[in-house]
């Protein structure tokens, strides 16, 4: 009843091509963004900001990057953690070695470095695909793990190989309080999510999708696989790299290569598959699912146990958490193999017809 596009006429090309063609969508997204920028900082306490919302925002950005590669271009990657690491360490080096380097610029340069490395490790995609490619990207993962542990130059010769940053500021804005950090990440994410949304509708996005759907056919109609695939690797790695820089700089502020281990790569791939391949929205859903669910389970299970008079040990909770998490993943995959984003759009379709479904 409320969600209906009747009476919204598209009278110009601009109307037809806008990002959110349905007015209700447009307004609700806008409202959500405004709420995220203004409402949440006012309402939410420090724990939610620091332990849940900031990781969620950063990992959403990373998932977005992975989704560009996996969901839009169809190239499976298990090396996302590696590109996060490259982004973080490159940004660290730009930041600490060049005095007076603005924070945003060093993060962007971190992303650019990650993009270059991504292009390099994307080369095998010209020859192999699918699971074979996934393993090829794992090579990137293990190699960067090793490089950042072994080459002291990257970590500014820190004895332990762990680096840290502090006193972050942009034009006098000190990013120290959780709210500042949250707003910074949110701003970053909003800009890049909009950019991604537009990119996937542009010529290059269409090339990616053509390659994903059938590469031979795409080549026949004149799309260069070399350019399309490597550009997807570059853009994806850029996103993932800046997310890595945010993760290091804003979330952890002191990190070691283990922060970007192979587990992280798996986690990111999880996010896009659970969330929905080839959907910007899906990246957010996936990140929310993977970041928040374990934490909620972890806090909720002991309370539930007490409710029925059981005192579950810490180990018991963690094991139960693993079991439930695994079961939910399988449940989702069986019920909706196309991810939460598909559920979302099914819901929207239903809403359009509501309350008269026939």
């Amino acid at each position: 009843m409320l969600y209906r596009e009747n009476g919204q006429f598209k009278t110009s090309y601009a109307d037809d091509q806008q990002l959110f063609p349905i007015a209700q969508d447009r307004w609700s997204i806008l409202a959500l963004t405004v709420f995220a920028f203004i409402g949440i900082p006012l309402l939410v306490d420090e724990y939610l900001l620091r332990a849940i919302l900031i990781p969620f925002l950063i990992l959403s950005l990373a998932a977005l990057g992975v989704n560009i590669l996996v969901g839009y271009c169809g190239q499976i990657t298990l090396g996302a953690g590696a590109f996060m690491a490259v982004g973080a360490y490159a940004a660290y080096n730009f930041h600490s070695r060049l005095p007076g380097m603005p924070l945003v610029l060093s993060m962007l340069l971190g992303g650019v470095t990650a993009a270059l490395v991504g292009i390099f490790f994307g080369i095998p995609s010209l020859r192999v695909r699918g699971l074979y490619l996934a393993v090829a990207t794992l090579a990137a993962q293990f190699f960067t793990d090793w490089v950042f542990l072994r080459v002291p130059w990257f970590t500014d010769h820190a004895a332990s190989g762990s680096v840290s940053v502090s006193n972050l500021q942009i034009l006098g804005w000190q990013i120290a309080e959780p709210v500042d950090k949250y707003l910074f990440c949110l701003f970053w994410l909003t800009v890049f999510a909009l950019l991604a949304k537009n990119m996937t509708r542009s010529a290059i996005g269409r090339q990616w999708m053509a390659i994903r759907d059938m590469d031979v056919a795409a080549e026949v109609i004149g799309i260069r696989p070399l350019f399309a695939k490597l550009s997807a690797f570059a853009v994806s790695s850029f996103y993932v790299g800046t997310a890595g820089a945010l993760w290091g700089f804003i979330h952890l502020s002191s990190w070691e290569p283990a922060a970007f281990s192979v587990d992280r790569s798996f986690q990111l791939l999880f996010m896009v598959i659970i969330g929905g391949l080839g959907s910007i929205m899906g990246s957010f859903f996936g990140a929310a699912f993977i970041v928040i669910l374990p934490i909620v389970l972890n806090q909720f299970l002991p309370a539930l146990g007490r409710l029925v008079g059981l005192n579950i040990s810490t180990a018991g909770v963690s094991h139960a958490e693993l079991i439930i998490f695994g079961s939910l993943i399988i449940f989702f995959l069986i019920k909706e193999p196309h991810g939460i984003a598909r559920l979302w759009s099914t819901g929207k379709e239903k809403l359009r017809l509501w309350p008269f479904p026939h």
């Binding site: 996996v70 499976i76 095998p124 995609s125 010209l126 020859r127 192999v128 695909r129 699918g130 699971l131 074979y132 393993v135 090829a136 794992l138 090579a139 293990f142 190699f143 793990d145 090793w146 542990l149 072994r150 080459v151 590469d215 696989p225 192979v262 798996f266 791939l269 999880f270 598959i273 659970i274 391949l277 180990a315 018991g316 963690s318 094991h319 139960a320 958490e321 693993l322 079991i323 439930i324 998490f325 695994g326 079961s327 993943i329 399988i330 995959l333 069986i334 193999p337």
Partner: protein
């Protein structure tokens, strides 16, 4: 020269163990097209079951003989793995027929989480011991041929022999039995196999059972070598380059690939490692697989139909 041979042999032994893990991957991929990331968790789960049963069963039954307890524990753990296989087929795979590779891969990761959780709950998360009487002390051979002799690890030798035996048995099973033929038929073409009356679900169940047994053997060998604990599940990551190198659908590929990776890893770590700082064996294995991949995208023995791009 003696040292080079030692490294080579060490690599071959390690490689044999990798092949055992890789074999689990290949079996399942061949029959159902599922890339089973839970193989590592299955190794852990089987080893945990074995280790715990071998202490529980004597307590329950009042047995004295350690050998008998081990045999019973092995059978019990095997039964547990059959149960796992049945549940996986029944609750997961059956509902995911005809899904994309990535979805199936994620599902097996889900299975891995569940197995780790259940394993921890049922069997505990401490270090457990599997004692099947593997010899631990090394022996020195050919002392008069090389300076310093050749140090051979008996445990590795026994383990590699068991692995080789298992592979031989599997080959027999696949070649000579009716079930084995049915399995090969399914591997070649699902639909054709189904149309001549081979029950797909039952075949999948059998394949997961076989993979479970392979995991159990791998678990017993690794577990008696390292102690049974959570890190056993990471052996899956060691098996990945092996299957890529050998080809996802080839059993001999898993064996040869394992040996190549094992030897490559050890030689690189020993001879190249000191020059660039050490700790390179993991990524070296992957790079080795990658180089092979670029030259032969289908792996050493993989089927040619893998599409080139």
């Amino acid at each position: 020269m003696g040292f080079f041979l030692e490294t080579l042999i060490g690599g071959l032994m390690a490689g044999m163990l990798y092949s055992l893990v890789a074999l689990g991957f290949v079996l399942i991929f061949k029959a159902s097209g599922v890339f089973n990331f839970a193989q590592g968790a299955m190794v852990l789960f089987a080893a945990l079951a074995m280790a715990r049963f071998s202490t529980w069963i004597p307590q329950w039954l009042g047995l004295e003989s350690a050998a008998l307890a081990n045999v019973l524990a092995f059978l019990a753990a095997g039964a547990v793995m059959f149960l796992v296989a049945w549940l996986v087929e029944r609750l997961v795979l059956r509902h995911l027929v005809n899904q994309e590779g990535a979805t199936l891969l994620m599902a097996t990761l889900g299975i891995a989480y569940i197995l780790e959780g259940i394993g921890g709950t049922l069997f505990g998360s401490d270090i457990y011991k599997i004692d099947v009487g593997m010899p631990k002390e090394p022996v020195m051979i050919l002392e008069h041929v090389f300076d310093g002799g050749l140090l051979i690890n008996k445990e590795d030798f026994v383990a590699a022999s068991i692995a080789a035996l298992l592979v031989a048995l599997l080959a027999l099973f696949f070649q000579k039995t009716t079930t084995g033929r049915a399995l090969r038929a399914v591997a070649d073409d699902h639909q054709a196999a189904q149309s001549i009356g081979i029950p797909l679900h039952r075949i999948w169940f059998i394949v997961w059972c076989v993979a479970g047994v392979v995991a159990l053997v791998a678990g017993v060998i690794w577990g008696s070598k390292l102690g049974v604990q959570f890190s056993l599940s990471t052996v899956a990551l060691r098996g990945l380059p092996v299957v890529i190198l050998g080809g996802l659908t080839s059993i001999p590929g898993a064996i040869i690939g394992g040996l190549i990776i094992g030897v490559g890893e050890k030689l690189s770590e020993v001879y190249l490692g000191p020059l660039i700082g050490g700790g390179i064996e993991i990524w070296f294995a992957y790079q080795l697989a990658l180089v092979f991949l670029l030259l032969r995208p289908q792996g050493l023995f993989g089927e040619k139909i893998i599409d080139r791009v």
